[in-house]
């Protein structure tokens, strides 16, 4: 069961986790929540741009890949776009499985792929100007964990 949402509105982490807690075969649910952090010179807001159409396709492909790699009962990806304030939630993933190993691995896999393969771009706006957030070499390197297998 894959659930993918791309939206400007906030989401309810507790309710999303509960959606995955169905039946009595799911022993483990892992969630990750990403939030807007402040920057050195005081963030006014973050503007999250995305590529409508491709975003949904990319998230679905990443989700299907996770479902094929681990025995998951379900997974959820919610990613916001638009204007976000410091401390706002940006996105979440949640994974459900019989055991903790699969749930943890799959959540981490989803995050590693979302960071570098989902078409979102972050712009940080502070009183001194604005900057597009650079992609990180560490994030690109993190993907290698999953391809060397």
């Amino acid at each position: 069961m894959i659930r993918i949402l791309v939206q400007t509105e906030p989401f309810d982490l507790g309710a999303e986790a509960e959606r995955l807690e169905i039946g009595s075969e799911t022993g483990a649910v892992v969630t990750f929540t990403g939030r807007v952090r402040d920057v050195a010179d005081g963030l006014q807001y973050m503007e999250l741009e995305h590529y409508p159409g491709m975003t949904e396709k990319a998230l679905s492909a990443i989700a299907e890949d996770a479902m094929s790699r681990w025995p998951l009962a379900g997974l959820t990806i919610i990613h916001r776009h638009g204007r976000l304030a410091p401390g706002d939630r940006i996105m979440m993933v949640a994974t459900a499985s019989r055991h903790r190993e699969a749930a943890f691995d799959a959540a981490r896999f989803l995050m590693d792929y979302l960071k570098s393969r989902a078409p979102f771009w972050k712009k940080e706006v502070s009183k001194d100007g604005s900057d597009w957030v650079d992609s990180s070499d560490a994030d690109e390197a993190a993907l290698k964990r999953w391809t060397s297998v």
């Binding site: 741009e49 590529y51 990319a58 960071k115 771009w121 597009w132 992609s135």
Partner: protein, 83 residues
């Protein structure tokens, strides 16, 4: 051949628009970049460092040397920063 060309993030800002229809005879995405660059300085500026540019063909991430092959939509953007 007519193709929809999309720009995101600072590529969009440098070029000044997010989407346009381009008439092109380019064989590959890289050829299309050359044609655009030759048009106007704002394109030359946006495409000045191709190491910082990624492309998607019909909404699939692809290398720059990929052939257009009748694609309807080509998108240019910096490395993604999701999550």
């Amino acid at each position: 051949m007519k193709v929809q060309v999309l720009y995101f993030a600072w590529l969009r800002e440098r070029i000044g628009e997010g989407r346009e229809t381009v008439e092109t005879e380019a064989a590959t995405i890289a050829d299309l970049v050359e044609e655009l660059r030759a048009r106007e300085p704002r394109y030359a500026l946006a495409f000045s460092d191709m190491k910082a540019v990624r492309a998607a063909l019909d909404q699939e991430l692809v290398p720059l040397d990929t052939r257009l092959n009748g694609a309807r939509e080509v998108a240019f953007f910096p490395p993604m920063t999701g999550g």
